[in-house]
Symmetry: D2
Subunit: 334 residues, 4 copies
Amino acid sequence: MVIIMEVNANDLQIKNVIEQIHLKGLKPHISTGEERTIIGVIGDDRKLQEANFKTLPGVENVFRILKPYKLVSREFKRDSTIIHINGVSIGNGHRVVIAGPCAVESGEQILKSAQIVKSYGANILRGGAFKPRTNPYTFQGLGIDGLKLLQKAKQETGLPIVTEVLEASDVELVSEYADILQIGTRNMQNYQLLKAAGRIRKPILLKRGMSATLQEFLMSAEYILSEGNQQVILCERGIRTFVEYTRNTLDLNIVPVIKKLSHLPVIVDPSHGTGRTDIIIPMSLASLAAGADGLMVEVHPEPEKSVSDADQTLSPAQFGELMEKTKKLINIFN
Amino acid sequence: MVIIMEVNANDLQIKNVIEQIHLKGLKPHISTGEERTIIGVIGDDRKLQEANFKTLPGVENVFRILKPYKLVSREFKRDSTIIHINGVSIGNGHRVVIAGPCAVESGEQILKSAQIVKSYGANILRGGAFKPRTNPYTFQGLGIDGLKLLQKAKQETGLPIVTEVLEASDVELVSEYADILQIGTRNMQNYQLLKAAGRIRKPILLKRGMSATLQEFLMSAEYILSEGNQQVILCERGIRTFVEYTRNTLDLNIVPVIKKLSHLPVIVDPSHGTGRTDIIIPMSLASLAAGADGLMVEVHPEPEKSVSDADQTLSPAQFGELMEKTKKLINIFN
Amino acid sequence: MVIIMEVNANDLQIKNVIEQIHLKGLKPHISTGEERTIIGVIGDDRKLQEANFKTLPGVENVFRILKPYKLVSREFKRDSTIIHINGVSIGNGHRVVIAGPCAVESGEQILKSAQIVKSYGANILRGGAFKPRTNPYTFQGLGIDGLKLLQKAKQETGLPIVTEVLEASDVELVSEYADILQIGTRNMQNYQLLKAAGRIRKPILLKRGMSATLQEFLMSAEYILSEGNQQVILCERGIRTFVEYTRNTLDLNIVPVIKKLSHLPVIVDPSHGTGRTDIIIPMSLASLAAGADGLMVEVHPEPEKSVSDADQTLSPAQFGELMEKTKKLINIFN
Amino acid sequence: MVIIMEVNANDLQIKNVIEQIHLKGLKPHISTGEERTIIGVIGDDRKLQEANFKTLPGVENVFRILKPYKLVSREFKRDSTIIHINGVSIGNGHRVVIAGPCAVESGEQILKSAQIVKSYGANILRGGAFKPRTNPYTFQGLGIDGLKLLQKAKQETGLPIVTEVLEASDVELVSEYADILQIGTRNMQNYQLLKAAGRIRKPILLKRGMSATLQEFLMSAEYILSEGNQQVILCERGIRTFVEYTRNTLDLNIVPVIKKLSHLPVIVDPSHGTGRTDIIIPMSLASLAAGADGLMVEVHPEPEKSVSDADQTLSPAQFGELMEKTKKLINIFN
């Protein structure tokens, strides 16, 4: 942390800042310039809060140099993390396609979906059993029955399963059925859920919050890692901006930026990220070109009958087109 | 719902849309124009999803006329809701000031805070026992001990207590101590928590999510009301925008807009909304002038020693100034 | 400027940074810590660009301490600027209401508007003769004829006139008719226009760009002052955010923040800022409570017949209500 | 336009709406439902304003069906526009790379830059002679001298030139030197400049405004086309959002969306769009994968000495890497 004193800060104010640094068990490094004094903090300042120094009299500004996250950073672990799930690998050049319907609706629907996903060569099946719905009067998911239907689809096709968990007390239950547990965008800062997810030993797919900064996103992953679970897949899924022609603004810029800062794999969800079936294919290709380790897309045997997200779901034919183009693109990286 | 067909939509496509409406148990109203056909849906279309119609062939656009919320709306209940807590009333011209530290830190700190709050004439004490922190390595609150310290402060001063609850399984516990349960911005769409809050019979202070639309905010309140708890206080606390001179962008515009649409009381939190001590007073006055039913502000006996949010916390003297100006302003409305 | 070197920066990299500072005619101040070296720049670093240092090898981060604006700052001029126009004063406690139609449509319309504005006690008449329209096929304003009609309305009522100028080559012409020249939101960074406005000796009303940061807004004012025109009125008029219930998000937070940093008067335009007639009155009161030096609102004899902005224009009766409440509120500040 | 009347709208209110439609020379189509009346407007409603109907008594909402732009739309011209400049083609599968320094600094610098651009196989040279700078005290460009230096670089290398024009009165002058005239992000809604650009017969590169909606962007292009100049290249260059890890948020989603709506070519500027040298390459590849017709990137012989935008400028070696990867990617589309 670097504390910039005001031009006219007096000795008492400078002494007070120094004292506060000592009180936190850290060491100050004073640099007296012609115009102003700058005080550096020596030692691990992760526990300090800028705010406590900004409010001291005579302080003009406070800059943090150390990042507040540690376990998720490339400084802590230089090599890219690879996550292995039933023979599927994600990360460090291993790219995956996760696909399936928004929600598990029936045994027939999820099985058909799984067969489509498998037949076109995708790697993992997605499907929601517990659904976080904005509207209390709409379909909230099949719950445990949905988990069981996913399990059957897995048995039939061999595809690993990713499904969402909504609260800490459900983590154990969902982890009995799922190969990857998804924490959704609305729960990215549900810290009780993150901690519970950190205590199991299955991979967690953590979706970025709708207005999460990069640091908040990585700090939420840090919660999971700090509890002992190192298997986190980050997922960009669009942010809230003024833009109205897409449901969210898919922010692909975060992909190469995370790659620099963190060793964790990053995938992209262009279905939620755009909310528009008609641009999922180009935005999927763009995601991979930006360096993403995979895609998560919605596909449904009959999109127009989907109980949710019908306007961002691919038909089987569209999904086939996506997979074909995806393979072509991935080839040039190898 | 109004479904606008494309200019060149054919009869089969129109028939298909009509069939889909019938399948949902509703009635279509067809209007054949010179250029295009417009199909209205007659009946309660709250359960329909625009997406299911937008994806049908030949459909250009779908507009919803009915709002998806009901219990929170002024159409459902014309008179403004007044919430009564131990002799304090909120709503319909009854304005309150809720104040206290960000977090309960110690018995002495919360008691001193309560005395300050009371001495300047504010109505309700705030203080966090369970803290949702971005950083897993920082202070997470005193938990149950914090709740007990709040209870003591209440016994000494008579001030009702508002404190945050972080997960569904804690709702019962927190409601034993708190007069009002706060659901924080990061949990505005934690639907399990909203449902649990809907099953108790204490007022809920629901903070707007950082990037929540008006409809999402009201739908989250609807979750609580739909479970039987009618006592919800809405709280604007700033949104995420490109602006960098305030921590969040306090969006006062939502206050008069909610007043038109909903009967629920609305308060404003300029501490979190701006993140800047130096503009809390003018923004508090602006909040009341915009029509808010109250304020929630952070005050601490010694702000620079606050374990969190030091840069948005008023000192006792600043709080005194706020209360004096607030009273002057409220007078002109009465 | 403070340059933070990386932990493992070597001597050559440090020397290079020092050399670059000397090359720009400034002096470095080196502070060698245990972990890293921090280099301060002594002297007026306004001409330096952070980017040139950020890209040097071994540099981790660069912070600017001096603000890039000077003439508009309170450090340069401590006392609040008061602008005088034909007996009307703006700034430092002198509050004004500027009102009138969006566009000058006819002699009758602008004269009627002026009479309404005057009869309710507002101070200045607004009306557009040159209109910046998103749509090339809609009404673009009456041009010089509009300016002449404004002049007549001024002669009849004695109200000073504010009207928009769209390009540098029109500044002379418009300044012959107008008492205050408005530079609109779309032109806030039209630097040719700003410079031309800086060369005349009439007050300039500068509207904030739709996505302007505070610094960009003040730098645009600096352009005008740096050319010799000290009479600038800043105007907040709403920013672009994800919010959809108001046309723009009126950002009142900027009002008290500008008051701290700049001596220039600040007014608020809740008509464009919200785009909703039904909340103009509460947001006007909130603007004044936040510390604004005045309001600019749209009023039209028959809003529903207005050629533009009909949904954000007050009727004469609504304007009367606004003026009455405004006076009540202003009284408590005096 | 479709006008939805309120449930309890009375006959007088309905009559009034119908009258207003007739007054504008259009025909109403009334559809009387069980619950409410819906009135369609028959004919070209581009000249109507929603606002004039929204404010009529008894009207609940107004939806526009026709888009306000015409000449830029695919409905008007189905085939993708191809723009030809000195043997270089842009659009409909013809992809280009435009590269060069932010600003023309000297004859040597621009010539060296042009040689680098040419040697790696890019198609067009960029360089600013007139610079729109936020700060009045920084370098504002070499002006006409800069144009002459660009001309020399063109003579030496054969590369066509794109350079920015800042005001309407300079359009003639700049078009004598430039092969493509650039209208910058701050001027996207400088309608005088757009009209002047529409009156010449050279291609215009129109950059998206920092917070421009899709419709505003296309309407600005419509201004140019409506004056007779059909050669417009649209350029996405990042938008303003809450995100802080990139200077702007490059919004690639707009690329496939524009492709659906408009026949005009679309390119992407990842230099300004991200402001970060270290992610320009992946974001360039992503742009092309999303369907862009080309790239515009900043390259400088010695980026750290660049007078502007040093932190978003590629070095010659980085540019070489970009061009190599770009060619590989483009190949799979052909």
